[in-house]
């Protein structure tokens, strides 16, 4: 009772940490009486909690005993599945932390990654860890309930991709574009069996061969939903292309390979997986909404429009503000 009164009287400070590939942003919101009166942020050239960032966090924390530290989940082993009760059909829930959203779909992440994150930030402590899929669903709430579209939260090196059909969750994948971790992320995200990888490398298609015609052909296949089950080659084709992509990326890094193109490929692969994975209910998707947190170039938009014939809508997102809003919703 007393603590509730004190909590109402005290100013709340919401500290949000966005960890990027090489930089971290700490965004602080001061909320005296349920309304944000001031906010400020600081960028640090590190992706771990170093002394400078620690001191900055401590200074922000010292403003009020009621401070809440929020971080966006960066686990490579996170995702979402379109059920709350039958999650075991999609993922092994025993090693995961999961949250059922609106009794319709579930977001999950690896317990170990949460533990690691808490361990890394134990000197300041963490209050909230949010899944980017939840941020995405909140951000596009108006669009999710009224269309069948792909919704993608594009960060520096990560893409949280989800597909909703008029409010019904269909599919989600967490994509990581970092070269070093690409193997792991692909292993997790696309659920490729080792055997398939080894079998398909030889038959894979060279990146140079990927042109508009091929994509149109594959898009035709996308449209033919009924034939998906029998058309195993497409899956193998796409997966093989991923593996080839890994090899290629290293080679063409000298040529400053377009990062947007890389992202495009990953999105394309994810959509392929959605169409081919029997566990998910497939629907033909014609539009994509991108929550852009880094400044997506026109190239990515162009790739998606020209190669996949998707209607692309880009909406700028301030991840730190969205994160802070989520934390406020949890508390206030």
């Amino acid at each position: 009772m007393l603590s509730k009164i004190l909590e109402a009287l005290y100013t709340k400070v919401f500290i949000n940490i966005i960890v990027g590939d090489t930089t971290s942003i700490v965004y602080v919101e001061v909320v005296p009486k349920g309304e944000v009166t001031s906010s400020y942020s600081q960028s640090f050239s590190t992706n771990v909690l170093d002394t400078e960032m620690h001191d900055y966090l401590k200074t922000a924390m010292s403003q009020s005993p009621y401070h809440y530290i929020t971080i966006l989940d960066k686990s490579l082993h996170q995702g979402a599945v379109p059920t709350c009760n039958e999650t075991k059909n999609y993922v092994d829930i025993s090693t995961l932390n999961s949250i059922c959203i609106d009794k319709k779909w579930t977001v999950y992440t690896a317990q170990d990654d949460i533990k690691d994150l808490k361990y890394e930030y134990q000197s300041v402590g963490l209050d909230f860890i949010f899944s980017p899929f939840i941020i995405l669903s909140k951000f596009f709430k108006d669009k999710i309930n009224s269309s069948l579209s792909i919704f993608a939260l594009v960060e520096e090196k990560n893409i949280s991709l989800s597909i909703f059909d008029n409010g019904t969750f269909l599919y989600a994948e967490y994509l990581h574009t970092q070269t070093d971790d690409l193997d792991d992320s692909l292993m997790m995200d696309t659920i490729i069996d080792d055997e398939e990888i080894s079998l398909d490398i030889d038959d894979s298609i060279d990146l140079d061969d990927i042109d508009a015609d091929d994509d149109i052909g594959s898009l035709d296949d996308f449209g033919d939903i009924e034939d998906l089950d029998s058309d195993v080659d497409i899956e193998e084709f796409s997966e093989a292309k991923d593996i080839e992509e890994i090899v290629e990326e290293k080679e063409v890094s000298i040529d400053d390979f377009n990062d947007d193109y890389n992202k495009f490929i990953m999105i394309q692969n994810a959509i392929n997986n959605f169409y081919h994975d029997e566990k998910y209910e497939s629907s033909f998707v014609e539009s994509i909404y991108i929550a852009d947190s880094i400044g997506v170039s026109e190239d990515l938009k162009k790739y998606l429009e020209e190669e996949m014939f998707l209607n692309v809508r880009v909406r700028k997102i301030s991840l730190e503000e969205e994160l802070s809003e989520m934390a406020r919703l949890e508390i206030l």
Binding site: L6, P65, Y66, I99, F128, F130, S131
Partner: protein, 174 residues
């Protein structure tokens, strides 16, 4: 609404030191309150016991009075019983003596023992036997003695002997 993978840590406006301080004071106040409550309770119980004892005292005093009355009554009854016993003993002795007085040749048919007198009815073979053997001792006991004789067919006499002790002597006897 819970969308976070972890629960927020418990927040408090008080620092660890303040918490310790408040805990200490809280415990102290609690103990003081506990002691105060204990004393108040004991006081209340003491008052209650005192009232009970006072009531008991009143009851006991009342009982003592009642007992004193009962004792007096019992003492009176005792005196009365002793008196009755003495009287009865005297009466028994008197009767015994009376029958000892009557000689074998005289037959008593009725005897009336009164407060200060004795009336004897009986049969005697002749007047001399009565006069010498019964009237003589009766005269020594009673102040006044009157005798009447009625002759019977067989030559014997039916007699009525009335004897009285005077009032003064009777009072002394009592």
């Amino acid at each position: 609404m819970r969308y976070s993978y972890i629960k927020p840590r418990k927040k408090t406006a008080l620092s660890k030191d303040m918490q310790l301080l408040f805990t200490f004071f809280g415990v102290t106040l609690f103990m003081l309150f506990l002691t105060y409550s204990f004393l108040v309770f004991k006081d209340y119980r003491f008052d209650q016991t005192r009232a009970e004892i006072l009531q008991e005292e009143i009851d006991l005093r009342k009982n003592i009075q009642e007992m004193k009355v009962k004792i007096a009554l019992i003492e009176n009854q005792n005196i009365l019983s002793e008196r009755v016993y003495t009287k009865n003993t005297v009466l028994k002795d008197s009767i015994h003596n009376l029958f000892d007085l009557v000689p074998g040749r005289i037959t008593l048919s009725q005897a009336k023992i009164m407060e200060n007198g004795l009336v004897l009815y009986g049969v005697t073979p002749n007047k001399d036997i009565y006069n010498f053997m019964l009237q003589a001792p009766l005269r020594s006991i009673f102040h006044r003695t009157y005798s009447s004789f009625y002759p019977l067919e067989n030559g014997w006499f039916r007699f009525v002997s009335t004897n009285y002790i005077d009032e003064e002597s009777s009072d002394e006897y009592k």
